[in-house]
Symmetry: D2
């Protein structure tokens, strides 16, 4: 991680056989699939990775197996988001032990914190980490958004090497980019893939996009078109990305449709199991057929 | 309004002497200022225009005076957002009488509606209007967001000629653009100026940006750079736009800082009075000094 | 209004023939129905009265007709809630002209205000009113809750004679009652009927309960049982109130089920039309049958 | 736990020396203090117990020490709320091992769930528990509220013996009580102490009130007055409870003022350390002085 990480870093799903068991063969196929698709790094144990739904031991197993399979071919980022600072530190130690390149941390998500408390949480946490850290903004799940000035304050510690924003708020993302404009070594990633290309054209460093689990090449191509300012190509590929969003993430009327859609598509493509950890459940036959049709229509 | 409206359409502030009296001279200077700045249309009685805080008679007076001053040099859009369908129709009749080109309507904002109710509201309203209409998405104020499919449903009536999105949600905006991709005559405008340029590069038709009251030329130039895909120019001008946002809209810790900042800046520039209608209040001396400094630092 | 108002004050529905026409005969029957049921006052043009959905002229007509029918038999409270201070004043003038006893005002509901702005809005409004005023807390619709200290601050003007809380937050209601404990002449009413009895036992002055449109005697009896501390009677009547809530207000999965249920029940009982002003719609046959069954099962 | 638990069950604070170390002596004093105050049970590792901020090992230590000190004098309830079903089961096993009487579980709090998913989560979890369970509604922290029908559905398993509601929503609490009215063996507890007395008068079984850490006797007396319907006594004691709320929980403008106030008051009274686990911090000298004054003024 000497230089700034850029590009597409899929937030890897966690292939599961049941609530307590990793689908290790599925994980192997998934990692080979995204690496072959040209992604620039891998982020495990994020929101798409259902980290919070996994028991601590299962999270450890996921770190261990991913590290074993990936063999440092591309950077490995590990989510350590937890409501407990102590358990975040433990996860970071394990990530370091298995050779991860950096950790990623969303704000503690049970108690709602103020900005001062949020900054102090990280000022307490970061010195205890032996890996660089990305901050992860996920206000819909954590009930707090890092104020741009809070990002800057926390990032005064140079171990803070980047920021992932999943707020989907374009004004907010621009505000963080503006606040951090003098930190050239600081990576800003955008979560929602629907706005990745435009964010990259405006100067963001890449995307942590769930769809890159399924179609890694599409997101890498879109990222590349955006970095060189090929707007015609961007618009063309964006249509495919929007089609993924409109047809794979929108089956049923669940808040969890995105997660269910991603895992179901991976199952349909023969990559891994589609089991979702509690409190979620995989799609039934009817919805799976819609996902199949959606994949066919995408012609990717 | 034969062809699709594109470009920068400032949501005009309503210059006031007090809660019940228009600052007519200020309005004259303001309109000449934005027209000279090259804007492509004017939108009065929107959120930035404090429409909801104005008595009905004052809204009528604003329509009348704007029409008189503007003399159809550029398109005039009039906000008719109201919780009452009947009063929305009355405002539309008055707008038509004074030569407006179109009306703009945000969802009714007292009762929270479901998507079905929202669609039916417009299916009841639109046939009673004698002007074309833009839908206006402002979920932070109306407590409801037009689902992309609801936009499409309402827009089946060809009197619906466009959509303004002030949600600041980049994923959402892309979803509406995707849903409406086959309606080539349908204009999509973005409210938050911090994300206007990227939205235009991705295919949006323009911006309804409050800052264009103060610095119309800046937003017109940014829009033009975005339409021709001059990304280097976009990034350069975007810095100025972000500086406006960070220094003029962020004085004090008010939810209403944006509105107060815009009116205060217009006052500092000698364009119009800075009185805000209840429930808001103009900035005091200390904050006004910050706005003065911010304007000087902008070097526009 | 010399002495403090206590008891059950139904927030009267506005019987309608269509969006622009009062069902005057229905209004006559409704008023006779609730007066015969022993209610202690009437509140028109509140949330249950769909005030925000009515055009200004229709609101005026509702004041005029109610005043004519009621003939000052019990106190008449008139909602003047509006986003515009000027139009609130106009409504208050009309209410006074037609002999209303007091006005009721919810916070302005388009722009979200801070507590300081909220207090200043009322400090500007109240001196322009020629009637006493009740503050009306309705945060789900107005996006702001009167802080207890803000209630106290605004109520320093003795024209402020009471407070209606529709937040359904029991902790909040107790906090306001605690803050105002030294103002013996200040009435505190609770909106949600499900918690009226307990609030009255704890010292609140009464309820502004929508169900009292349909079954005025039930709510009056429950109020009376609560005021004398007859807990056994309270629990018995509370079962009926909860049955109303569970069976009449919960048909369908609309946010507007409460309003639709109240009007539908009044129609089934032959009291008034069930037309709802846009953006809402009356129930269809299937739902109406459920309301009929619910009424029969209530055995009231 | 043969018969239904009733009364005051303090959600015990977790006395801490630092993020990783229990204040064992403080815990001993605290448990003796509340037992001497007459409370009817103890609930550890809830929201007031900062469970989510504690590492897993520290939670285990808290169970172990509490069990050792309490020696089964009164029922011990243990919070097992976690985002992971697997880790919830582990905590429950440990609680059973140390002789706890029941567990308490709030909805998973990272992903927002729908009602169906929420019900299925518990239908998966409960058969794996070897202790009875109380459901715990805490929507401000979990982003989901148990619908009354969901409570009923989950409680079809007779291992579900009660419900704690911390929503502060009086209408909601009444709705759950109404829905569960035929389950005579099912305990309903109210979290917010400001509305405990009224809820008990209406039929609730008791309170899980944070203030009972500090002043156990006050809450026990209030509970007793409410159960016998002594409304005059209820009103008198309620004044003290409201004074606690207004003066001890409202120092500073933190969302976390309640937690900080409780721990600070316990420190001032010489009971335990006031360290708060990250992301929170103890009060400074100025705020501590306010708490001291508040305690003196309470004259308890």
């Amino acid at each position: 991680m000497k230089k700034t990480l850029c590009g597409i870093v899929p937030p890897l799903v966690t292939p599961l056989l049941d609530n307590n068991t990793l689908d290790v063969e599925g994980l192997e196929r998934l990692i080979e699939h995204v690496v072959a698709g040209g992604v620039h790094g891998i982020f495990i144990l994020g929101t798409t990775g259902e980290a919070q739904s996994l028991g601590f031991e299962l999270r450890v197993e996921m770190i261990k197996q991913t590290s074993r399979i990936l063999k440092k071919r591309i950077p490995l980022l590990v989510g350590i988001s937890d409501t407990s600072l102590a358990d975040s530190v433990r996860l970071s130690e394990i990530a370091a032990e298995y050779g991860a390149d950096a950790v990623v941390s969303a704000a503690p998500y049970y108690y709602a914190t103020g900005q001062e408390e949020l900054a102090e949480f990280y000022e307490e946490l970061i010195p205890q980490l032996n890996l660089p850290i990305y901050l992860y903004n996920m206000p819909s799940h954590t009930k707090v958004s890092f104020a741009p000035s809070t990002v800057k304050r926390i990032a005064e510690n140079e171990k803070v090497i980047g920021f992932k924003d999943s707020s989907a708020n374009g004004t907010y993302l621009q505000s963080v980019m503006h606040e951090m404009r003098d930190r050239k070594d600081f990576s800003i990633f955008v979560g929602p893939e629907e706005m990745m290309a435009e964010a990259v054209m405006m100067g963001a460093n890449g995307g942590v996009n769930g769809g890159a689990n399924i179609f890694p090449r599409l997101y890498v191509d879109l990222y590349n078109a955006a970095t060189v300012g090929d707007i015609a190509k961007v618009k063309e590929l964006q249509q495919k990305v929007m089609q993924v969003s409109a047809t794979i993430y929108s089956v049923g009327c669940y808040g969890s449709s995105y997660l269910k859609g991603v895992k179901c598509a991976l199952f349909v493509l023969g990559i891994c199991n589609d089991f979702l950890a509690s409190p979620f459940n995989r799609f039934g036959d009817e919805q799976r057929d819609k996902i199949k049709t959606a994949i066919i229509n995408l012609q990717l």
